[in-house]
Point group: C2
């Protein structure tokens, strides 16, 4: 059975303007690979309701799971929750369960639970909450969309909260070999190898170091024995 | 007049599996912002012809310019050129101009110009070549799509080759202010400021440092005087 598929939607002007370098995509990619879920597409869009709603609908329809990051804080530019509600035709308002979590937290901390912070309790009517052990304000799940924070420490904690509930397939295994030859000298034999082992993904990632050419050859698949066999053949080819 | 819009398409299994951390997106975002081109969307897809062709067509139609990175080397997993030709209904074969460039280079270097390297001379019939001062194998432009290499040093050189030919609008200017208060305390006044200066983009990026909460407030726009005015007001609000 093929692995379940996933997409990610990164939301935020700061990423697209180059001000902030996204790190959540790379983190999620690694976690999903270990969990046996194939990350098939990533989109990054600005804080633009139309763009967010359109991307949510397209990705939710095309893939088994969708993970979003960004736009669920207390400020005016945090519009993700409203966009998710709009995308799936749900109403949205301050919800009792999220309100209770946040109220208890701010009361205990002696900080004001004001109107802005109450925005973080706005949750679509049919959503399930995602635990946030870092800063309490919850993420949530609507249909197959996991809505999570953009702050990396919170995003990572939320991913850890949701992954155990997602059925993964076989984790993607990989082995790599560094060859100190130009990629153009490797490409012919490598193409033959890829044809012979068509059940594996064989990638070639060239580099240039101190003027010398080389490439890292990465063989990926779900069966360790097959990867071993391809690796042995690869090593023989360039011995 | 609004700035021209752009999208980026990052192509490669290695990005989506989490093996390689993409750095081209962040580089391009910064360059486009300086050049006055609004990067509105980024997509990342695997080495999958259907996904690549579909994304190329959708982005080419929706935005003024599309920049791609990855998949134009000599190995079997380099399928971007063929996908671009397919997406725009052009034929593709080894082209004389690209062949001449590569042949001269490999001859001068005393390296074999073999069948695999000749793959890098496969260019769609109506494309214009993009100069590659780093490793010669050219990128190319088809309609509004700029097809460039994934290796960061080559990608960056190609961006430098093409940007002068793209008419930019007003560069996006920005100023930022770090406030040492919880974002929830800032959100109310900040929302009022965003309403008053609706021509500017006002973003709030929270952080937590040594247990204390804070946020970087970033005000972006194309008119320096407006940003100054909003910054002055912001500083007064939290003085």
């Amino acid at each position: 059975m093929p692995n379940p598929t996933a997409a990610m939607l990164v939301i935020g002007d700061e990423i697209l303007s180059g001000r902030t370098r996204d790190s959540n995509m790379h983190f999620l990619a690694g976690e999903l690979t270990k969990h046996g879920v194939d990350l098939a597409e990533v989109r990054m869009v600005a804080d633009d309701p139309d763009a967010i709603v359109k991307a949510l609908r397209a990705l939710s329809k095309a893939f088994d799971h969708v993970f979003t990051s960004g736009g669920i804080g207390p400020t005016h530019d945090d519009i993700t929750a409203d966009c998710v509600a709009a995308a799936f035709g749900q109403s949205i308002d301050v919800r009792d369960d999220a309100y209770a979590l946040l109220n208890a937290y701010y009361t205990a901390e002696g900080r004001e639970f004001n109107a802005a912070r109450m925005r973080m309790a706005r949750i679509p009517e049919k959503a399930t909450l995602i635990d946030n052990p870092v800063s309490i304000a919850p993420g949530f799940v609507v249909e197959n969309v996991y809505v999570m924070a953009g702050v990396p420490s919170v995003f990572q904690a939320m991913v850890a909260s949701v992954l155990p509930d997602i059925t993964g397939g076989a984790p993607l295994l990989s082995q790599s070999l560094t060859l100190h030859r130009g990629e153009g000298d490797l490409a012919g034999p490598l193409g033959d190898l890829a044809k012979e082992f068509s059940d594996l993904s064989i990638g070639s990632y060239p580099f240039q170091k101190n003027g010398a050419f080389g490439a890292n050859i990465v063989i990926r698949g779900t069966e360790g024995a097959r990867i071993d066999a391809a690796m042995t053949k690869l090593a023989e080819m360039f011995a």
